[in-house]
């Protein structure tokens, strides 16, 4: 006989009881779902508003969530990303303080040699945009981001080649590795190892590898061509004073970064001072420090670069952690607002169901069952909302990407995405259903059956506070939006010290080679052209470097001046409408002017001279290489903004030198199209086969504020969303309130109150809440936006008009939202409302 232990009649009965329990639960659950469906169906307007409001909130926060996820994921895909750091540098020299992501060429070798915990290093020397063509073609294609890189590149970041051998690629000078897209652009194929490319019509490079395009969420996302560092002569020089190399280091596992930092601090004594003493004999660590100067190296983890770097120049476009915080804030509150709405509307709606609850309770339903029933309903709505939200987000994604300047996609193939979304939906359903369920299940049957609904004691209930909260957020976001846009407006209209209107910039004019002067000459002969200038230095934010200069009468490092040196031609100031405040401009006929300079006002300050005193004085560059060349100051130019308005205007000297990177053309016509096509024709004659790239100076200027503009646009969209959601909530609460006060309104009308008196009364009740919200949110918005503005050296004052306008707007919106319900309640016939006895 088989042993039937555990199969006694008793346990069998237990089993039966258990089964019937399950059955009962299943029936109960089916009943809940059924009732939920029907009651939602019976209230299409309520269900629609509720689902729609929640869906909008969910879609908004879903997009923001994806955006933040993308921002936080930067550079994490690289193998060993956790062990990779970059050496950054804070430097103060000659009055200028610079935060630099670039360090000296011998840095990498020194780390490799002296630091036991270093496993690998790699350097990038950015070349920016360059023209390439395959040797069998005559037309160039412009690659926007190119760089020299050490051969350790692949090992460092765990990158593979799809064609070529990564052990040997980039070892030899004049070899390069390109991305799949670049290979397809130049050769129409990806099997191109061994083929050659011509760089800027001059140097021949051999392709030694093709790699996949770099991830969109990495610091290398823009780079398409990597050239062997061996071809960069300066990279082998032992110069610690020129800082042009992005240097990355991979440390061994379990390296203590505080020890690493101590060793970095030692580099000053070991390498930099001995090198500097060649120029400044007798300089010691003490004397260097005493002069107020410093060089401090530190490391930044690779994965922090995108959001946490505060260097002026980075390898790629960087995000800011502030924006992530701001967006998290907006995303969180969006979803919170949507939940609050849901609660308000559900509670309002529940009055209609008070009788149902009364009957259920009378028939023996307990409170838990009621709560479960209402939570089932809210979960159903939450679930429907999420489906709708994903659809809305999917449709809105291209616009959002456009707005945010990203290429985010919804990870439909990621199982984790569904898990996260389902969890989120459930939590949201339970959360937003909790308060209504709690309130409704509390109804006392006898009261509700009599139709009295439930009594509401204090005026300051949860719902009122939620409304205050919702509108506080709305006011805050409105203030934020207004301030951002006013600041952008301010930047756009700021007098920059030069004229950016009607200035066309033709980039890569050097591609015309020897013909570039002829090109300029012919362009000048066009009647639509007022003036033209050739220079690689345009007065917009861009990667440029400082040099140290010394006054002839003070050749001491204590008096070093950090200034930018721009090579320009004699038409430069005329083309940009820059103003001289002393002296004269360049004369291209004068040989003496090749050793002359025109400085800006900021340089005067550093020199400690007045404009008149400065004229005729001579300055010289770093005296290290042989005998110094002196430049005579022949003019002083009014300060103009050549960096972003976030920065102060720094010292700058103009030098008369051939520099043909770009040509700026000042037009004197409104017919831009024909002027451009005339110029293009001349270009095609003078530089056949070379791409003609141009943009307008004011557009170029605007693009340097893309990050702000994006933030502004994102703010506008999500501010509108949150206002919309807040209004839905207010609408719901107004309905709720009108319903709750039906009897009271009836009594008042019987006693002689007019429609306008009642409408006014009901509306002001809500306006009080909105006014409180405004009073709290305005100072908060003012405070936070002032912090945001601190980023700009040139900024607006937040005026009372902005605050007043935000308050006005939100109150107007609130009035419009509430008055519908108020008027509806006020014109209702009191006979009907009093009859519900």
């Amino acid at each position: 006989m088989p042993d039937l232990t555990g199969f006694h009649p008793d346990s069998y009965r237990d089993c039966e009881v258990y089964q019937s329990k399950i059955k009962k639960r299943a029936i109960m659950f089916r009943n809940h779902i059924k009732i939920a469906f029907r009651s939602l169906k019976n209230q299409p307007f309520f269900t629609l508003i509720n689902t729609f409001g929640l869906a909008i909130g969910m879609a908004g926060s879903l997009l923001i969530g994806l955006y933040i996820y993308d921002e936080l994921s930067y550079d994490k895909m690289f193998a060993d990303a956790g062990r990779i750091y970059r050496i950054d540098m804070d430097i103060k020299f000659g009055g200028a303080e610079i935060k630099s992501a670039e360090t000296a060429p011998p840095m990498a070798a020194a780390l490799q040699r002296d630091f036991a915990e270093v496993e690998n290093t790699v350097r990038f020397r950015i070349l920016g945009s360059n023209l390439f063509r395959s040797s069998d073609k005559s037309a160039n294609i412009k690659e926007l981001s190119t760089t020299y890189v050490d051969a350790t590149f692949f090992d460092m970041f765990g990158l593979e080649l799809i064609d070529g051998n990564k052990e040997t690629a980039l070892k030899e000078a004049n070899t390069l590795v390109m991305t799949r897209t670049a290979a397809e652009n130049h050769f129409g194929s990806i099997n191109v190892v061994g083929k050659s490319l011509l760089l800027n019509n001059e140097d021949t490079y051999v392709v030694t590898g093709v790699m996949e395009d770099l991830p969109k969420n990495s610091f290398l996302k823009d780079y398409s061509i990597f050239m062997a560092m061996a071809g960069n002569v300066a990279s082998r020089e032992n110069i610690w004073g020129s800082n042009n190399y992005f240097t990355f280091v991979k440390v061994l596992p379990a390296t203590r970064m505080d020890h690493f930092q101590l060793q970095l601090d030692g580099l000053l004594e070991k390498y930099i001072l001995p090198w500097a003493q060649k120029t400044f004999p007798g300089m010691t660590a003490a004397s260097f420090a005493a002069s107020g100067n410093y060089i401090r190296y530190h490391t930044i983890p690779l994965t922090n670069i995108h959001l946490h770097s505060d260097n002026q120049i980075e390898m790629g476009e960087k995000g800011t952690i502030q924006n992530v915080y701001i967006l998290s804030f907006i995303g969180f509150f969006l979803i919170f607002l949507a939940c609050v709405n849901f609660m308000n509307l559900s509670t309002a709606h529940s009055l209609k169901r008070a009788k149902e609850v009364g009957i259920r309770k009378t028939l023996g339903s307990n409170r838990i069952q009621l709560i479960v029933q209402f939570l089932t309903e809210s979960s159903l709505i939450s679930f429907a909302s999420m489906i709708l939200a994903v659809i809305v987000a999917f449709i809105a994604l291209p616009f959002f990407n456009d707005l945010a300047g990203r290429t985010i996609s919804i990870p439909f193939t990621e199982p984790l995405f569904y898990v996260a979304i389902l969890l989120f939906t459930m939590v949201l359903g339970l959360f937003s259903g909790s308060y209504p369920a709690f309130v409704i299940s509390r109804f006392i049957p006898v009261e509700t059956l009599k139709g009295n609904g439930f009594k509401n004691g204090s005026k300051w209930n949860i719902r009122s506070m939620l409304v205050v909260f919702q509108f506080g957020i709305a006011v805050f976001l409105i203030v934020g939006t207004l301030v951002i846009f006013q600041q952008l407006q301010f930047i756009q209209n700021k007098d920059l010290g030069y004229s950016k209107e009607q200035v066309l910039v033709i980039s890569d004019s050097y591609a015309a080679g020897q013909q570039v002067n002829a090109f300029k000459h012919e362009v000048l002969s066009l009647s639509a052209v007022k003036s033209a200038t050739l220079s690689s230095f345009m007065p917009i934010a861009s990667a440029r470097s400082n040099s140290s200069f010394f006054r002839e009468d003070a050749m001491d490092q204590k008096f070093a001046i950090q200034m930018q040196t721009w090579d320009v031609d004699h038409d430069y100031m005329k083309t940009f409408g820059m103003e001289l405040i002393a002296g004269r401009g360049f004369n291209n006929q004068s040989v003496a002017d090749s050793t002359a300079t025109i400085i800006n006002e900021s340089t005067l300050t550093t020199l400690g001279l007045s404009a008149q005193e400065a004229l005729g004085k001579r300055i010289t560059e770093d005296v290290e290489l042989g005998k110094p060349v002196f430049y005579r100051i022949i003019g002083v130019i009014k300060d103009f903004h050549y960096e972003s308005l976030r920065e102060d205007i720094g010292a700058l000297g103009l030098f008369l030198n051939k520099s043909t990177g770009s040509m700026a053309v000042k037009l004197q016509t409104d017919d831009f199209a024909s002027a451009i096509s005339s110029i293009e024709n001349i270009w095609n004659e003078q530089a056949p086969g070379q791409p003609f790239n141009y943009r307008f100076m004011d557009d170029a200027f605007d693009t340097s504020y893309n990050e702000e503009r994006r933030l502004g646009n994102i703010f506008i969209v999500f501010t509108s969303l949150s206002i919309f959601i807040a209004c839905l909530g207010l609408f719901g609460l107004a309905a709720f309130n009108a319903q709750k006060r039906t009897k009271e309104i009836g009594v008042r009308k019987v006693l002689g109150a007019s429609v306008s008196q009642i409408t006014f009364g009901l509306t002001t009740d809500f306006l009080k809440l909105v006014a409180i919200a405004t009073a709290i949110a305005l100072p908060l918005g003012w405070f936070v936006m002032n912090i945001w503005l601190q980023d700009f050296s040139y900024r607006i004052q937040i005026s009372w008009e902005i605050l007043a306008f935000a308050a006005f707007l939100v109150i107007l919106i609130a009035i419009l939202t509430v008055s519908y319900q108020s008027i509806k309640a006020a014109i209702a016939n009191p006979v009907k409302s009093l009859k519900t006895e």
């Binding site: 009594k455 009594v747 019987v750 006693l751 002689g752």
Partner: protein, 233 residues
Amino acid sequence: MITIIDLEKYYATEEVRTIALNKLSFKVREGEFVAIMGPSGCGKSTLLNILGLLDDPDGGSFIFNDIEVAGFNERKRAELRKHNIGFVFQSFNLIDELTVFENVELPLIYTGVKAAERKERVDAVLEKMGIMHRRKHFPQQLSGGQQQRVAVARAVVNNPKLILADEPTGNLDSSNGNEVMDLLTELNEAGTTIIMVTHSEHDAKYSHRIIRMLDGQKVTENILADYKSSVAP
């Protein structure tokens, strides 16, 4: 004071048209105390709503103080109502959020009486009703009888010519009910016209005249024996 001739009122749903008042006619003279009786659904409340200018008849004539008011719009009715008519309801209809004083004050606010005078008049009427000591209480803190006194106080504070009472004792025990009826009688003796809907034969005996209704029509009308000598027990 009130003359209604062939008054008609219908209620229509999608399928059924119910006749609430079917060519009803009667008169009420100034200073009268009239009780209207009849079973549920006979049209008493509808009649009271029309008499109280809360609702508009569908046909017939309603002359109030020599003015034809049938067809008046909401605004005109409200104007006439707030100066001439006070209401007493079965369920008191006090506003829970307002104190006794504030409840009684309400009609004066809507007729535009100044604050100082309002206080004086509210205090006077509270005194008269014997609920002065409760002036700062909220309705829930009072007994039913006290609540109905407040309601009566509110109904008379404007010195209306007409008081309409809809089962004023319906929610009260008999001793509280009698008190309220005594109160109404006193008001009537002081000159206020009263029209009262009631189910209670006992209460009806306080009146001068009983109009009995059925299916929207007047069935009988009895003038009580002691009318003119007019002192109720």
